[in-house]
Symmetry: C2
Subunit: 626 residues, 2 copies
């Protein structure tokens, strides 16, 4: 497993860590291409929960320290676990940490190197200009002198200049001996003027999720992702979900909002330093930011009180996209930079959904597409080039693995895969962080801690297929097995043996857990049905699962549970962090930005809580299909 | 004399202080109109250098304390010198201080109540709107909801919203129960949203002079000046004139500029508090500022390094007008307010000159007008509706009374009027602060301290008329008198007796002083001539003297000295602080603001230092005329 990306997989013994990284799509720097001569692919071997032997694992599970490695790694670093990825060959499990300096600048997150489906036309462009110095005959002001040249060379007219840029302008012109690079925003405003030419300049795309924040540093010159990183949203201290953060803001007037805004701004500033360092740049080299997030994250990021979002009729403070000076937000990038915040569709369909839309463009096709972004709230979009509807379903936290008896986040130790033999009810499972199924290793090695979202979906689908659960979701009273037992609140299914867990008892799935998942998937399914009725369609032709969770779900088992209307397994796609892709597109393309503004206004929001169809559809969607 | 306005004059004995104030154009509050019933016209009688008897003067030179006064003025205040201006009748000289609360809100500075020669159309307007609250059927965002109403009621489209206003918007809408007042800038941007309706809202016009800063608080609802005040530019600590401040910034890299900017921003913030208080408002009620100042003051106010202004070819950082957020400058007015800075013509012809231009509008007339704004630099504009030229003459500080042997600013004790008997050379003079000529009082009462700008002009004109000076400026060797004596560096004229001064010696005018004034007036005159040559005119038809000094100059004696080309005394006008008038006009009229932008680009700047005519004209202009 590679950290911090979290990529893991089974690699043939004898392959180098570099080869392993390449197979797993982990971006690891390697200038010489594995010839053992550049020393750029340094990694640190970490101890992990599956490598309880400690630092020894770096010796036992890897080839011995080689002569070429000695050239690049000093004694002290060697003791700290450093190796060259090109030289260290695998012979067992390892947890590898990529120091920032070794993280590749190309691909960290899926789809990033796919050709951009739009021409590169970023909001900020660098324009080099050579100016004739002022003379007594022609003592034109500095800014007008620059403007004249930018008009001549780039056809830019009527430019404004940001105030800090103006203050720095006279010095920059003289330091550069009248050769400067002007950073121009949307062809309208000079954000910065730097002496001489510049090598690279960057923009940052950010997806502020309720739980995870992802940042993509993009080189605005070529559109490529120069570095990417993610972190836990530091606001989780103040509440795990949207509603609890809104409550926190209400219960702590003034302070609550301020603290949560400071937390996200501070966290983003750290993330910015980290990606800048990884790309060999500084935060001041970042000249624009594009941000998506759900409406509550959007409000908290901007320091707008989220209270109205928590009370019917849930109006947001504004819908349209915004451009705010980075300095006004406390973002520590170039002080002249703007932060572009994508538009919001409605109180519960935010800028993150707009990001998904411009990344997946259902409005360009004739086929009826259902976009599902599952989280604490499921955000759905249904439609095609004729018409688009959106809605938000209160799925509750069950699909994220929260609030279940043994629910947990998708973290090491979480059961993420489940198989049940329909004959014997023998159960196999796999936990995150261990690349073997439980029956492939000693019970004590498994160390399961709970069930995450994708795990509960697989478990329920398998239980249903095996006949343990009825169509209605009840336990089938005809089936009796040592795996099923009664407990206080009803029946439960025993998923693990006690010895296989790290918590000292069996992990089970209760009838309450089944009901919670049924409620969640029922809401999702019913939301989709209500929109299908509105649109007058009987079938969806394509289903797109977006978001980190969306990409983890087993599509087949999601269909078995009836999480969304049936459309044929071959038409169900997982697209990963499409909201983040949308932010990146808005950063790199003015056309995409305009598209976002247009689409956000066109999507028709369907309020389910007042929809008369919804309850009926919800009742229909609760049972499992077939 | 009234403080702080500095107005003084001779008033008939028996008139009340209120009547005196009205005669002298001093804005003194008087709600009841002198009927002794409102108690609003409270003033404090101060001791002055001409009232050395101390507080007694308030009794001796005024009618006794009356019964009606007792109603409004307590014992403690009475001891501090408070009187009601309507009740206290004059019987001698007094120095009257107007507490802020008694200063009239109408007229402090000449011309202020003249009808505005333009329709009131301020940059910021308040728009009241009543919004339908959001419902589940129509949960439109707060800003879009406001925008829809502003479009419906005021035809405003495509409005942006300033970030702090957006943050405050949801609360303001709910506090006002969906009735709010939006402050809109230039029909484009929502600066602020306040719950309910508002009574008054203000703008501030500011003229930042090298020596004096004047501020006019204008009610944007009706265009009237609600309060006005002025202060010494706090930057004088860092240098008395423009060049010494530029030097200070150069000699103290980083720090120097910062300190000077902080000084002016801090000073303005004080001035703002003072005018707001006087108008019964708060600084947050000020929603826009319009600022003029010479190019160096402009740069220092903005925190732009003035170095290039001090080095040939003196290019400014920019020419065009600017709008900057008050918060980015540290101006403590409404945080959403913009500061509009008028455009600059050239390195030495600043936004103050543009202010004079839009106030005096020489470009509207056929007659050839010469505008003179005399300070350390004389800024000249010549032309008519066809064409306008401007130039800057390095007059040096002599015309401001500085750098002369006994030179001083126009402050109490400065000789400002001089008469010399051509026969006897007997000299009479008058000092500021004493409303009698020196021969009308005891020598010990005069207490002269030096000569100010208007004094030196009068003295030289009188010396020339009396034949003491030749046309060339030399002392006439034919004239011998006890008034003329040799000293080390040449001859000098004795203006005062020792007993008449506060400095223990005679005040004299040396040949060096004469030369300094000749240089200054020669430069001014030559600048005008060069522009006349360029324009191809032989005569100017109108001369306008602008600025505080311009209004103090005796026009006849300025003509005798040849400070500017002859044009007939009846065509010479003093217009006071025309630059401040221009700032006020830009604040209150978008048309005037556009006019300023247009005119600043149209005026053709004539660089005298490279002009081949200038030296020749300068030599010709040094002697006195006739």
């Amino acid at each position: 497993m590679f950290q911090p990306s979290g990529r893991r997989g089974i690699i043939e013994a004898g392959k180098s860590l570099l080869e392993a990284a390449q197979e797993l799509g982990v971006a690891l720097e390697s200038v010489c291409g594995g010839k053992h001569v550049c020393g750029k692919c340094r990694v640190r071997i970490e101890e992990g929960f599956f490598a309880r032997e400690g630092l020894d694992s770096s010796r036992r599970h890897l080839s011995p320290f080689s002569a070429e490695e000695e050239k690049f790694i000093g004694l002290q670093e060697r003791e700290a676990g450093y190796r060259l990825a090109c030289s260290a060959q695998l012979s067992g499990d390892v947890l590898v940490y990529l120091p920032e300096e070794s993280r590749g600048q190309k691909q960290v997150i899926r789809k990033e190197v796919r050709d951009l489906p739009f021409p590169l036309n970023p909001g900020v462009k660098a324009c080099f200009a050579q100016l004739p110095p002022p003379t007594l005959e022609e003592p034109l002001g500095d800014f007008e002198r620059l403007g004249r040249e930018l008009k001549k060379q780039y056809g830019l007219e009527g430019l404004a200049i940001d105030f800090p840029a103006l203050k720095a302008l006279p010095q920059a012109l003289r330091d550069g001996n009248w050769e400067v690079t002007a950073l121009i925003w949307m062809g309208r405003e000079v954000l910065a003027v730097l002496p001489g030419g510049i090598e690279n300049y960057y923009g940052l795309a950010v997806d502020i999720g309720t739980t995870t924040v992802a940042a993509y540093l993009c080189n605005l010159k070529n559109g490529r992702v120069a570095a990417a990183d993610s972190m836990m949203n530091p606001q989780v201290t103040y509440g795990e979900d949207v509603m609890s953060r809104i409550s926190y803001a209400m219960q702590n007037p003034g302070e609550g909002l301020r603290r949560m805004q400071e937390a996200i701004i501070g966290g983003l500033n750290e993330l910015i330093r980290s990606v800048a360092r990884a790309a060999g740049a500084t935060p001041r080299d970042i000249f624009e930011m594009a941000v998506v997030g759900n409406t509550a994250m959007h409000h908290l990021f901007l320091g707008i009180h989220p209270l109205p979002l928590g009370l019917s009729p849930f109006p947001p403070a504004l819908h349209r996209s915004l451009d705010i000076k980075a300095r006004d937000l406390g973002m520590e990038i170039h002080p002249g930079a703007n932060v572009h915040i994508l538009p919001v569709e409605a109180g519960f369909v935010g800028a993150d959904n707009v990001g998904v839309l411009i990344a997946e463009t259902p409005y360009e096709n004739q086929e009826i597409t259902l976009l599902i972004d599952v989280g604490t709230n499921g955000e759905l979009v249904l439609g095609n080039k004729e018409r688009l509807l959106s809605c938000s379903c209160a799925t509750g936290p069950a699909l994220e693995g929260a609030h279940l008896q043994f629910g947990m986040r998708a973290a090491p130790g979480a059961i993420e895969r489940v198989r049940i033999d329909p004959q014997t009810l023998a159960t196999r499972f796999k936990v995150i962080g261990l690349d073997k199924w439980n029956d492939e290793c000693a019970p004590g090695e498994v160390q399961a801690r709970g069930i995450c979202g994708s795990g509960i979906i697989e478990a329920l689908a398998e239980m249903y297929k095996a006949g343990v659960l009825e169509k209605s979701g009840r336990f089938n009273s005809q089936v009796s097995s040592s795996k099923i037992r009664n407990q206080g609140k009803g029946r439960e299914f025993i998923l693990t043996r006690k010895e296989e867990t790290a918590i000292g008892r069996e992990i089970t799935i209760s009838i309450a857990d089944v009901r919670a998942v049924q409620m969640a998937k029922g809401a999702l399914h019913a939301g989709a049905r209500v929109m299908m009725n509105r649109l007058g369609v009987k079938r969806v032709e394509k289903v797109v699962l977006a978001g980190a969770f969306g990409s983890m779900i087993d599509r087949e088992r999601a269909l078995i549970l009836g999480m969304f209307p049936d459309c044929g397994l071959e038409n169900v796609y997982s697209v990963g962090n499409a909201a983040g892709d949308g932010a990146r597109m808005a950063l790199l393309s003015r056309e995409k930005r305009a598209e976002a503004d247009r689409i956000a206004r066109q999507v028709e929001y369907v309020e389910l809580t007042t929809d008369t169809d919804f309850t009926e559809e919800f009742v229909k969607a609760m049972p499992f299909p077939q």
